[in-house]
């Protein structure tokens, strides 16, 4: 497969510009780049979901023009999306057959075919299991099988490791090697350099919408790759000195939250304390209760049992508004759904969540909005937090994700929160904004802010946190010291394999330690390796 001079423009931005990419048969080709570099757009073009404005795509030497994913599938291109497209209530077999009933029927023929593919590539898929009973890694294998079942010879995997813990990543890579040895090509999208270097045969780096270089893994160091990818010095999320005090800000005791209409606990026996000036990092595979915990802390869901105290005061029964007035800041995990009014101007978004507070209303409990005050303060936020916008009257939707996030961070920090819930604060944010957001969290922490940090980025967690906890199936199963723990160790606790206090073992038993080092984790390890070189320069 070969791509030449692909350019795709969106309103206001050039998402892809003059992209060149050539994928050899029987290889794993990694496409790396920062969040927002344009990887996903490129993949959508490859998969026929969007049409390029310029450039050509060739498959096996013949030029093609895709108008829909069906065209791409017909050409043997299959996509495994980051967010799985499976029906929970159906079995694996039904999910795979769904939409391709004509290929091998829906009965014994399909079952035979599935078993055959599963065996050939070592996917270990059970056709009669219900998808809702499967874990994330199993679901991903079903997605892969689904694509293979449709006759794909080129697989696109969009950030396949984002939802996996390190051990599952290894298993996935074994599968990919199987595929490769059978002559299939894999396009592997990621921004985690360690993974890329361990699995890819070729690497193409994409930055700011264009391909900036290619690399051969065996001749490339993570440092070189990172430089290509970022194009500048790498920021690190590390916090220097500890600012943890002994004054508890948030105390949670025995928090339990049941699923609606059942006695299935979504959160069970959650207890933790965050002191003033402390960042508590919460690690966990998504969907293990993080969202519910946030909801319980912000007051969207009320605990079935347990107590939440803020600065000694019992806030368990407080409504959301009262909690926010009381100093709970919130950087939501999904800013479009929970943090912004997309079609409202920036200054109205500045009011959101703090409508009862100055400068948005006059006086405490004021009835009238203070529109001038809110607008003036929005200008200040735009200025201080470097929100790139031509003005405060444009809608929030017209800003890029990073700038939206800066606005949210600015808004929340402007109300001097005592406790900040920061869920994936740098997700989808470019490198510059990322460093800035980290700085702001650090600064607020120095001034006595208590932070609950939830992130899928283990390096961010390890780098920013003073204390680490691991959540698994609605329970806090492990804790760790961010100064010594490795992403791998955290990962094993995230799958439930380890629990209790995660003690870092310096000299690991031979094989395991080696594999950990060889894989070089992800970008965080890169940064660690990078640091000495920085000093050397």
């Amino acid at each position: 497969m070969e791509l030449n001079g692909i350019t795709k423009r969106f309103p206001g931005v050039v998402a892809n510009h003059d992209i060149h990419l050539s994928v050899r048969k029987g290889t794993v080709h990694a496409l790396v780049g920062e969040n927002g570099a344009g990887k996903s757009t490129l993949m959508k073009i490859l998969y026929g979901m969007q049409k390029p404005d310029e450039g050509t795509i060739a498959v096996d030497g013949t030029q093609v023009a895709f108008t829909s994913p069906a065209d791409a599938i017909a050409r043997g291109i299959g996509m495994v999306h980051q967010h799985f497209m499976l029906a929970d209530q159906l079995t694996v077999l039904e999910n795979i057959v769904l939409g391709s009933e004509k290929l091998y029927g829906i009965g014994a023929g399909a079952r035979r075919k599935i078993a055959e593919i599963s065996d050939r590539y070592g996917l270990g898929v059970r056709p009669d299991a219900y998808v809702e009973d499967l874990g994330v890694a199993d679901r991903q294998r079903v997605e892969i099988l689904k694509v293979l079942y449709r006759g794909a010879t080129t697989l696109i995997l969009d950030e396949p490791t984002a939802v996996l813990v390190p051990q599952e990543v290894d298993a996935l890579f074994d599968n990919l090697r199987e595929l490769k040895s059978e002559g299939l090509s894999v396009i592997f999208i990621s921004h985690k350099l360690g993974e890329v270097l361990s699995v890819a045969d070729d690497i193409t780096v994409i930055r700011r919408g264009t391909t900036v270089g290619t690399a051969i893994p065996s001749e490339t160091t993570p440092r070189q790759l990172a430089e290509l990818m970022v194009g500048s010095e790498l920021p690190t999320p590390e916090t220097a000195e500890s600012t943890v005090t002994d004054r508890p800000m948030i105390e949670v005791e025995g928090l339990k939250l049941l699923a609606e209409g059942s006695d299935l606990p979504l959160l069970d026996d959650i207890s933790f304390t965050i002191h003033e000036g402390e960042v508590l990092g919460l690690a966990g595979v998504e969907g293990n209760g993080q969202t519910e915990l946030i909801d319980a802390l912000i007051g969207l869901k009320h605990a079935d049992s347990g107590v939440i105290r803020m600065a000694g005061e019992d806030i368990t029964d407080w409504a959301t508004r009262r909690r926010r007035e009381g100093g709970v800041g919130y950087i939501p995990e999904d800013r479009h759904r929970h943090g912004l009014l997309l079609e409202s101007p920036l200054w109205e978004n500045r009011i959101l969540g703090h409508v009862t507070e100055q400068p948005n209303t006059r006086g405490k409990g004021g009835f009238w909005l203070d529109i001038k005050g809110a607008q003036a303060d929005t200008r200040r936020i735009v200025e201080e937090y470097d929100v790139r916008t031509p003005g405060i009257d444009v809608t929030a939707a017209s800003l890029s994700g990073g700038n939206q996030q800066k606005l949210i961070v600015g808004r929340e920090m402007s109300h001097k929160p005592r406790f900040l819930i920061a869920a994936h604060p740098t997700r989808g944010v470019d490198v510059g904004a990322q460093a800035q957001i980290w700085d702001q969290i650090r600064e607020a922490r120095r001034e006595g802010l208590a932070v609950l940090l939830i992130s899928a980025d283990l390096d961010e967690l390890i780098g920013l946190s003073d204390t680490l906890r691991v959540i698994y199936r609605g329970r806090l199963v492990a804790d760790a010291d961010p100064a010594s723990v490795t992403p791998e160790e955290l990962g094993s606790a995230m799958t439930g394999a380890a629990s209790g206090h995660l003690e870092h073992v310096e000299e690991d038993t031979g094989g395991a330690g080696d594999s950990g080092d060889a894989r070089a984790g992800d970008s965080g390890d890169v940064q660690e390796e990078a640091a000495p070189e920085d000093e050397a320069r």
């Binding site: 206001g12 931005v13 759904r337 009014l341 031509p390």
Partner: protein, 381 residues
């Protein structure tokens, strides 16, 4: 920023203009298809609108439409579809008429009492839907439609002779209200009388704007309408908000029948206007829930309603106005959504362009080769 403001005004006007032009063109197509002149009905109707008695009729009608549309718009601003305005205003008018016929206070007390009764009745009827939605999750669309039907039956029952009904000829009324409850009108001489309640309708429009745009409550309401999840996270109690919005919507709906009840007929009878609530939906849509837009839309629809009867005398069917009204609704929905999307995209584009231009300028100032780079940087964001 002025540029964006100007563009916003343009976008606000573009939607209704496109919709009206499309509706007129389509109506003309219908006329041509039925072998009639596609132009003459319009000129006939415009001619009608130049007569001052028709103008008074239009204004009076528009006053009622305006209140009904405001009631619908309050719901719309919060993503609630109160189809029940129709039942709410009819029930409110009937109850008010009964109270007005049986209670006699001085005008200074009687009129506020009647207004209060109307608002409470409307709020009570819509509140049923509100409570069903907040406690049982019943869609307000379904419950208000059903409540419309129930309101018709309740009114029928209450206006029976053995209850509050007073037969007059072959009409069934609720008896004539005491004159202290009659709302004074504005005398226009031979052209008739403009309902004094039209002033109340205007005040309601001002209040609507003030509360929605200048108060905390209004902000919470709009935030809930724009994004329920974001509003909830910002501390809005969604259930309470649904109930409050429903109650206010119903209270305003209760006023919709007042102009004619207090200003003209002074009794609730079989010939009391029906369907105001549904017309109100059209008007709220056309007026984009803005108090000024709704006013124009109300006048337009009132014009269609009051100028079209003259068509009958010239061999045209006055139902042309109904066809046109229907087409307006369809055209409005389509054109507003198209304009909205286009506007959002356009703004994103312009913000991108402006930022890129700013970056270019900055790059040029620095006078180094970072120029190209900074443009790209912005482009990628």
């Amino acid at each position: 920023m002025k540029k964006f403001d100007k563009e916003r005004v343009l976008l606000a006007v573009a939607g209704p203009v496109i919709a009206l032009v499309a509706a007129m063109v389509l109506t003309s197509v219908v006329l041509v298809a039925s072998g009639k002149s596609p132009i003459e009905p319009y000129s006939l109707m415009f001619e009608q609108a130049t007569f001052s008695d028709i103008q008074v009729l239009i204004i009076n009608e528009a006053g009622m439409y305006y209140l009904a549309a405001l009631a619908v718009a309050i719901g719309f601003r919060m993503n609630l579809f109160n189809i029940g305005v129709d039942g709410q205003y009819r029930l409110a008018a009937m109850v008010t008429a009964v109270v007005g016929a049986h209670v006699s206070l001085p005008a200074g007390l009687q009129i506020p009492l009647l207004i209060l009764v109307a608002m409470l009745t409307g709020a009570f009827w819509s509140g049923i839907a509100g409570i069903l939605k907040t406690t049982r999750g019943v869609s307000e669309v379904v419950s208000t439609i059903m409540l419309n039907a129930i309101a018709t039956s309740v009114i029928g029952y209450l206006t029976l002779d053995e209850n509050f009904g007073v037969p007059v000829g072959n009409n069934q009324t609720t008896g004539v209200m005491h004159s202290s409850g009659w709302f004074p009108g504005i005398d226009m001489g031979a052209s008739g009388e403009i309902y004094g309640f039209v002033v109340i309708a205007v005040l309601a429009g001002v209040l609507y704007w003030l509360i929605l745009n200048r108060t905390r409550f209004g902000f919470d309401l709009r935030a809930t309408g724009a994004s329920q999840s974001a509003a909830a996270a910002s501390g809005v109690n969604a259930k309470r908000m649904v109930l409050t919005a429903m109650l206010i919507s119903g209270a305003v709906a209760g006023l919709a029948g007042m102009p004619i009840l207090l200003g003209d007929v002074h009794t609730y009878s079989l010939s009391f206007p029906t369907g105001l609530g549904f017309t109100g939906i059209t008007i709220a849509l056309l007026g984009r829930n803005s108090p000024v837009g709704i006013a124009f839309a109300a006048l337009l629809i009132a014009f269609l309603a009051k100028a079209s009867p003259a068509l009958d005398y010239k061999g045209y069917d006055k139902e042309i106005a109904v066809i046109m009204q229907g087409l307006i609704v369809i055209a409005v929905v389509v054109s507003y959504e198209a304009v909205r999307r286009w506007g959002l995209r356009r703004q994103q584009q312009r913000v991108g362009e402006e930022l890129a231009a700013a970056a270019r300028a900055a790059g040029a100032d620095n006078g180094n080769n970072g120029n190209n780079d900074s443009v790209k940087e912005v482009a990628a964001r």
